[in-house]
């Protein structure tokens, strides 16, 4: 892993990235020669019909999935050839994840879940850091609750707090509102908007035009390729564009 002192302009950069699943005639090019920059301090939504490769693109960008060709850069760090230990360290310090299915650890309370990344990184997190992170997502009073005692929206906010407690460079979110009702979804999106406004880089995959409309920019994917972009569009405009690509 190489790190240079200069800060790159883009939070994450993909250069000619391809990812193929399967072999021979059954091979699927989930991501097909994608070159893309996710800007620092901006919120980018990735949209596309199901099977367009948007989740695989996110996994590749986050170093969870290896790429077959091309390069993935997190800031100035090349993830392409990084080993397991390097990627683990990145997940602890520079990358945060939020997923559709929350993925909290059921055995741990909300505050234990939030403290987990810090503890895994070997530090003994102060209660105040954990509490203030939970407070930032509006759940300071739920610190001692276990995931099953929380609503879906609350669980997702705990997941966001867990992702943010390490102050990551980039927050990757895969359908963060996919399992939420509209009220809970609005709360979560509002939270993410506030984070982006405060300078947090966010890459989000979604199929919901309403969610995508909260982002600064929308990238459209089809058959593993980037086919379109929109900036500062409303939900209607995003939906129309998506519908056009789904035809």
């Amino acid at each position: 892993m190489t790190t240079t002192m200069t800060r790159a302009a883009a939070a994450v950069t993909l250069h000619g990235v391809s990812r193929v699943f399967g072999r021979g005639p059954a091979a699927v090019r989930a991501v097909d020669d994608v070159t893309l920059e996710f800007p620092r301090g901006g919120w980018t939504a990735v949209m596309g019909p199901s099977g367009s490769g948007k989740s695989t693109l996110l996994h590749c960008a986050a170093g969870l999935e290896r790429v077959d060709t091309g390069r993935v850069m997190l800031g100035d760090t090349d993830l392409t050839g990084a080993g397991d230990a390097d990627l683990t360290a990145l997940r602890r310090t520079r990358i945060g994840f939020v997923f559709q299915s929350f993925n909290l650890i059921g055995a741990l309370t909300a505050e234990q879940n939030v403290a987990l990344p810090l503890r895994l990184a070997g530090s003994r997190p102060s209660r105040s850091i954990v509490r203030s992170t939970l407070d930032a997502v509006g759940l300071a009073d739920r610190a001692r609750h276990k995931p099953r005692e929380l609503s879906g929206g609350q669980q997702q906010r705990v997941a966001i707090a867990r992702a943010m407690v390490t102050r990551p460079e980039v927050l990757f979110a895969d359908e963060p509102t996919g399992a939420l009702d509209s009220t809970a979804a609005r709360t979560v999106l509002g939270l993410m908007r506030a984070m982006a406004d405060a300078g947090q880089s966010i890459v989000m995959v979604t199929h919901d035009p309403g969610a995508a409309a909260h982002a600064d920019a929308v990238v459209f994917l089809r058959d593993g390729r980037v086919v379109d972009r929109l900036a500062g569009a409303g939900a209607r405009e995003v939906a129309d564009r998506l519908a056009a690509w789904e035809r």
Binding site: A85, R91, T93, F102, N103, G152
Partner: protein
């Protein structure tokens, strides 16, 4: 990490109860066997015994020690096997949790440490419960040994303070060692697996499984090949040890074999059966893990009792073929001359049995053991047993029981006299039934020392003699039976001894393995609530889901019974070749009622356990299960 281990244990307690129980009973079994072994090995003869009785006591004690050695070996093997397979299974069932940990920044080392931490806690807790449980197990084992007269009345295992350290060590070492391989494997889980709904398409056969499988297969094969060349004692010991490595080899290949065989079981039609068939195809590692303890149980119980019964039958058969006499008289003291005087007796071989302390070798290789010596009339002995043996003066012969070199010098000490160094000049073939290790010529032992010796005389009638009259004449000397009666009684005695030995060696171990079977079914079902709920929202009734689970359990059990039988069959090959090599007749005598019982118990236990677990896993309405997600 220890804190996380604690939280993990508290949350997934259903998954861990089985693991804890396996450590507890494993520690209890090992502790009890070890304490009994030490007690038997240090047992002093009661005061006031005659010298002969003291030597006999020593002989009985060394037999009990040998038996307890086998029990201890079996306990350690079973504990190691059941604990490691249970732990590996619980780890396997938590791949998604572990992937999640990796996703939020957990390193491979941390995943490993988490699992080892859990194993440490479970090992300590299991030892804490296992020490008192071991006292109960010891009471049962000692009672069995007293009841079957392998140890004197009043024998009871003695507590040793150091056993605390051994038991805690056993619990921790077995638990940690048991999880070591599984932890390494789990540490390689990819973070992305946390995001997948269903379990990963994990590799079915790992390199470790191939290596372990081939290694243990090689071990079993080597024992099968060498057994017929090991003589009666060595051959029997080797054949009795085939089932263990053969079972481990079969278990290693179980992910390939179990689903294959399970799908061959007749299922009947309908949705539940096609669902069960699909589950078998899909969850190959789970099927293998559920089958593993049952394979070992069947292999050990069927393989060893089958081998034991066959060797006993072979010995009985050999004895009948090689004994040429009409009547057998059991008496005390040198009754030979008295028998010879009875009218109608053509020939009698009177064999007086004495305990003897035998020393062979010298220097570092010097060994002393208590054996049975037989004072014989060489000519008569040869005629009755069909094997020539010529002895004169101080020369002795190696008997059918083995343990004495065929040539050379041995030192022999009898209860009341030291015979000094004696040349071994002849030997008779070792037999399956064993018997005396040393044959002594008449006149070597001072006459007075034979007065209390047990005497067995084989009598041949003169042509035309009236058997009833001869019998009548002999009955004043001792207990008379016809050769057939005596052989039948001897056979019954040998079979019953064999059964008792098998019960002591396999009884508690078998129950422990059965607990492993229950464990495996419970763990296998513990993580299937969601799968069951999905089947129900698809339109299956609760009854259909339970029936599918039951059919699956039945198919896996059937496959496990067959595979356990396969491992046992390896032992039977060794039995056939060994009995053929030793007695000239290949013998296999299978305890069919026991085999039937094992199959019935296996099917009943897995069936009931899977019925209860799948019924309770489907208790809540499916929608609540599918809606609530961690």
């Amino acid at each position: 990490m220890l804190g996380m281990s604690r939280a993990g244990l508290a949350e997934r307690w259903t998954l861990f109860v089985g693991a804890l129980l396996s450590v507890t009973l494993g520690v209890a079994l090992v502790q009890s066997s070890l304490l009994l072994l030490i007690t038997a090995a240090t047992l002093d003869p009661p005061a006031g015994l005659s010298a002969a009785a003291r030597l006999q006591f020593a002989d009985g004690t060394s037999a009990a020690v040998a038996m307890l050695g086998v029990v201890l070996g079996g306990a350690v093997f079973l504990a190691g096997f059941i604990i490691s397979s249970t732990f590996a299974f619980t780890v396997d069932q938590r791949r998604r949790d572990l992937a999640l940990l990796r996703l939020v920044g957990g390193s491979r080392g941390q995943v490993r440490r988490l699992l080892l931490g859990e194993a440490l806690l479970l090992g300590l807790a299991g030892a804490g419960l296992g020490v008192p449980a071991g006292l109960g197990v010891m009471a049962v084992q000692a009672w069995l040994m007293r009841r079957f007269e392998f140890v004197p009345e009043g024998f009871a295992g003695q507590w040793r303070m150091w056993i605390l350290g051994v038991s805690v060590g056993t619990g921790v070492v077995l638990a940690v060692a048991g999880v070591l391989v599984a932890a390494r494997r789990a540490a390689r889980v990819r973070p992305l697996e946390a995001l997948r709904e269903s379990g990963p398409a994990a590799r079915v056969m790992t390199a470790g499984r191939w290596i372990a499988g081939l290694l243990f297969f090689g071990g079993a094969l080597a024992l099968v090949i060498v057994a017929p060349h090991g003589g009666p004692a060595g051959g029997q010991a080797m054949a009795m040890n085939v089932a263990m490595p053969a079972a481990v080899a079969v278990v290693a290949f179980a992910p390939l074999l179990v689903p294959l065989l399970a799908r061959l079981m007749p299922f009947g039609g309908g949705v539940p059966s096609s669902l069960a068939r699909a589950s078998l195809r899909d969850a190959r590692r789970r099927s293998a893990s559920v089958a593993a303890p049952l394979i070992v149980l069947v292999a050990l119980v069927v393989g060893n009792t089958g081998a034991g019964a066959s060797f006993t039958a072979s010995g009985i058969d050999e004895l009948a073929r090689s004994t040429h006499a009409d009547l057998v008289i059991e008496a005390t003291g040198p009754v030979g001359p008295a028998i010879a005087k009875v009218p109608g007796v053509a020939r009698a071989s009177t064999e007086l049995s004495l305990p003897a302390e035998l020393t062979t070798g010298s220097g570092d290789e010097r060994e002393t053991e208590t054996v049975t010596a037989l004072v014989i009339d060489p000519t008569a002995y040869a005629a009755v047993h069909g094997t020539a043996v010529s002895l004169q003066g101080r020369a002795v012969a190696a008997g059918p029981g083995g343990e004495v070199p065929k040539r050379g010098e041995v030192r022999v000490r009898l209860p009341e006299s030291d015979l000094g160094s004696l040349p071994v000049v002849a030997s008779v073939p070792e037999t399956m039934t064993g018997g005396a290790s040393l044959l002594l010529p008449p006149g070597l032992v001072p006459a007075g020392q034979l007065d209390d010796a047990a005497a067995r005389s084989f009598v041949s009638l003169a042509p035309g003699a009236d058997p009833a009259a001869v019998r009548d004449g002999l009955s004043r000397i001792g207990k008379v039976s016809s050769l057939d009666e005596w052989l039948r009684a001897d056979a019954a005695d040998r079979s019953s001894t064999n059964d008792r030995i098998m019960l002591i060696v396999l009884g508690l171990g078998g129950l422990y393995a059965l607990l492993g079977v229950v464990n495996a079914v419970v763990i296998g079902a513990a993580t299937r609530r969601r799968e069951f709920a999905e089947a129900r929202v698809t339109g299956l009734t609760r009854g259909q889901v339970v029936r599918a689970a039951l059919l699956e359990a039945y198919a896996v059990t059937g496959a496990a019974l067959l595979l356990g039988g396969l491992a046992a069959a390896a032992a039977f090959i060794a039995v056939l070749s060994t009995t053929s090599a030793v007695t000239g007749a290949a013998t296999l005598d299978l305890p069919w009622p026991l085999i039937g019982a094992v199959a019935a118990v296996g099917l009943t236990v897995t069936g009931l356990t899977s019925l209860i677990t799948s019924w309770s896993a489907t208790r809540r309405p499916p929608v609540t299960l599918l809606a609530v997600r961690e």
